[in-house]
């Protein structure tokens, strides 16, 4: 099987061809459809752009945003304001200004949401939507009171041409979202939705990821609002109520708007459901009741239309991809361990009355692998958390290559060359193996470099979606990503958990070659003594938060105190 990711031609070409086709279809619709349907279609386009934005913030980045139409109102405000004062540039420039302005408002509103979990953002955005609702009714849009309607661009002044312009703008927005998703920002959105810790450990800023998602979403909302103003000529508060924002959010969840086609489909529903109800003589308010019911269903079952359709389409390909580690790796020359590169002194932390770690000293030599073992609850994972910066309340010092790391955030430490992996699955399922590895590595990688590293650890090929990769293999993909980042030190928290036992030693043989192959020193936390013995020359033993023994492998494992603490009194070694 080819391990290469798709080439640049397909990566760029296919979306552009689809976009071209969409614009042609838009033109055909604009000339062929009945005038009323052109009008409805324009409403669907506006909703589509707004949904696309919601797809970014709720679908990709996993946050709850309930004020999408407030951002639309900002866009509408800017467009009608610029039209009112006769600003230069014309409609399209105003539209872009509206988008940018809404994006800026999004950043302002999102700032308090930087470290917020999804639910706090929901409270903030609902608050904004409610306040904007009342305010807009009171102050109205510029030009509305004196009836100055917004000038459409000359070439697109009639409804049919304006609809075609709408399709072009929608297509441009879809392309924008598509390509943004492929960038570091986009991977960051996926990562932050799945795990903030995982994002920070990859050296990406949780703050930037959330804020960029929110800003992009708001900007798209602004464009939608501006386009709507051009459609109706005058902007009215009734188009931007909190109720409709809520309905759009629910629709985004229900349709799975993080998938671009589903955002467009959701937009069709947005227009079609009330229209059909109207034709059947049912009050249109039932439309929102339908959305509410379907949304509740989608949220309680955790599925949405988009993924459901895609799963039918792909007919569930073969099952999960796993790890293949059977053959031993080729021999390499091992450089001898050198000077300490990571030095930890007097590390302590307490949780309330419990002293989780007390006065721990250890050092990882360059080109070396230090094993840290200890019984359950000895403080091994806490140690990794402290060194990687997730427990800022800890005392003591951490030095990387002579540079003190105290006070730095996990993101900064990761960028300084101190990486870690997690015991739990922190790999976002929405990316492919290759995209995730590139995201974690934070540097330019050739496809062959990625393929080689993946193959060395027996991981599935780069183009495999992580969704189809089993948990054990995901955690090795995580290791590969961090190794390709070429940090000075990598802290591995039980990398073998989730792998079948017979593959532990095979993994160990590979980990032993990590300093030689990747130039990375390793601190390995492990339960499995077979694995530790096959990898580590030096071992530190933790027990009840203190260092029980430290030194060369044979010496430490023969220490009677270690035997007693770690293995109990019986002879297990």
């Amino acid at each position: 099987m080819s391990r290469a990711e798709t080439g640049p031609l397909t990566r760029l070409g296919v979306p552009l061809v689809v976009a071209g086709a969409a614009i042609v279809v838009g033109y055909l619709f604009s000339v062929g459809l009945d005038g009323y349907f052109v009008y409805l279609g324009m409403s669907a386009i506006v909703a589509g752009i707004a949904l696309l934005g919601l797809g970014v913030v709720t679908g990709s980045a996993g946050m709850v945003s309930l004020c999408q139409l407030t951002f639309a109102a900002v866009g509408a405000w800017v467009v009608s304001g610029l039209n009112r004062i006769g600003a230069p540039g014309g409609f399209l420039v105003w539209l872009v200004c509206g988008g940018v302005a809404a994006g800026l408002v999004g950043v302002l509103v999102g700032l308090p949401a930087l470290r917020l979990r999804g639910i706090n953002l929901a409270v903030v955005t609902l608050g904004l939507a409610a306040a904007a609702d009342l305010t807009l009714v009171q102050i109205q849009f510029p030009g509305t009171v004196d009836g100055v309607s917004v000038d459409r661009p000359e070439a697109f002044s009639d409804d049919r041409n304006y609809f075609w312009l709408g399709t072009i703008v929608l297509t441009a927005c879809c392309l924008l979202v598509h390509f943004l998703r492929k960038t570091r920002w986009g991977s960051g959105w996926q990562a932050v939705a799945f795990s903030e810790r995982g994002t920070a450990a990859a050296g990406a800023s949780v703050r930037t990821s959330k804020l960029s998602a929110f800003a992009v979403s708001a900007a798209l909302g602004g464009v939608a609002g501006g386009l709507l103003t051009g459609q109706v000529g005058l902007a009215f508060p009734a188009s931007f109520t909190a109720m409709q924002s809520l309905a759009l959010y629910v629709l985004a969840i229900m349709s799975g708007a993080h998938l671009i086609d589903m955002a467009v489909f959701g937009a069709v529903l947005w227009v079609a459901v009330p229209e059909l109800l109207k034709r059947w003589g049912v009050p249109q308010d039932w439309g929102f009741v339908v959305f509410g019911l379907l949304g509740t269903h989608a949220l309680t079952t955790g599925g949405n239309l988009g993924t459901a359709v895609r799963e039918l389409w792909r007919r569930r390909s073969k099952g999960a991809a796993g790890v293949e580690l059977s053959a031993p790796p080729a021999e390499v020359d091992m450089p001898p361990p050198g000077e300490p590169v990571l030095v930890v002194r007097d590390l302590s932390v307490s949780f309330g009355e419990v002293k989780a770690l007390a006065g721990v000293n250890l050092s990882v030599p360059s080109n070396g692998v230090l094993g840290v073992i200890g019984p359950n609850g000895a403080g091994k994972s806490t140690l990794v958390d402290i060194i990687s910066g997730f427990l800022p309340q800890a005392t003591g010092s951490v030095e990387l290559d002579g540079r003190p790391l105290n006070g730095l955030s996990p993101t900064r430490r990761a960028r300084a060359g101190l990486r870690r992996t997690f015991q739990q699955d922190r790999v976002p399922a929405g990316l492919t193996v290759g995209a995730y590895v590139r995201f974690v590595a934070r540097r330019r990688l050739s496809s062959s470099e990625i393929d080689e590293a993946l193959e060395f650890f027996g991981c599935p090929p780069a183009k495999t979606p992580l969704r189809r990769v089993d948990v054990g293999a995901r955690r090795l993909v995580e290791v590969v990503g961090h190794l390709l980042a070429r940090p000075k030190v990598l802290l591995l928290d039980e990398p073998a958990a989730g792998l079948p036992h017979e593959e532990h030693v095979a993994l160990g043989l590979r980990l032993r070659q990590v300093p030689a192959r990747f130039g990375v020193s390793v601190l390995l936390i492990e339960h499995d003594l077979d694995l530790v013995r096959s990898v580590c020359d030096t071992i530190t033993v933790l027990d009840f938060g203190q260092v029980l023994a430290s030194g060369p492998q044979a010496e430490v494992l023969a220490n009677p105190d270690v035997l007693k603490a770690y293995m109990g009194e019986t002879e297990l070694l």
């Binding site: 609902l126 306040a131 308010d285 009741v289 509410g292 949304g295």
Partner: protein
Amino acid sequence: MLQGALAGLAAGGLYAVLAVCLTLMSRLVRVVNFAQSATGMFGCYVAVHLSIQVGLPTWAGTVVGILIGGALSALLGWIISTWLAEADIGTRSAVTVAVLLLLISLSFILFGNKPQPFHPILDGPAFSVNGVVVSQVTVVTVLLSVVIAVGCRALLSKTSFGLELRALSERPTTAELMGIPAKPLAVAVWAVTGLLSTLVISIVAPSQSNDATSLSMLVVPAAAAALLGGFRRLDLAVVGGLVLGMAQGAVAQVDSLSVVRYFLPFLVIVGLLLWSQRKEVWDVAR
């Protein structure tokens, strides 16, 4: 200013009760219930409908409305604790957003989108301070908020029922293994908060702007108040509600500040969040 502040106290009491409900929900059943006031709104509208269209006495209609509010809330609680028992607070709360939308549109269909002709349950002044009249509604809602907060606190800390509830909220799995009936308890919490919010909205709604959207959006100032207590502390939630109501009332006195009044809950939310999140906090324990 004082007159405005005292006039705002009725709304403040309403915010306080809703904030207490939100806090209880978030603490005990891991939900920020965006449909909290919408459930109350729906119950009240049923009450109005019963007394105006069916001809039930106001008190009887109100009682039925309150029971319906409680039942609606219980139903929602049952749905969430059946299908989302293990889900995180974000997903569970997102469901209530969908329900909020559902209830508002349902009320448009059933009762129209105009404010309802409420019969006030309480009417007239209670007493006056320095010539400023304090209405009965104000006295009752403020007292109610304090009584509910104190009562809930006592219930949670003094009774074995409260102990079970806390066990359930802090260590759900352990609690279930010990034989504490998780689902019935959770549904009971939902039902009680539904009853309380319908009760307090029935009292205040006649003297407020009482269209379906306004009543449902009461959850915003209530959330602002609950945030003051960090969705944990009942006493601060009450204080937050009362202060917010008074501040809004005071600002409403000045015409040029009316937009500020609309944004007050939002600004309070943002301010409190910035303050409470000033230190880095991670999403999960490890």
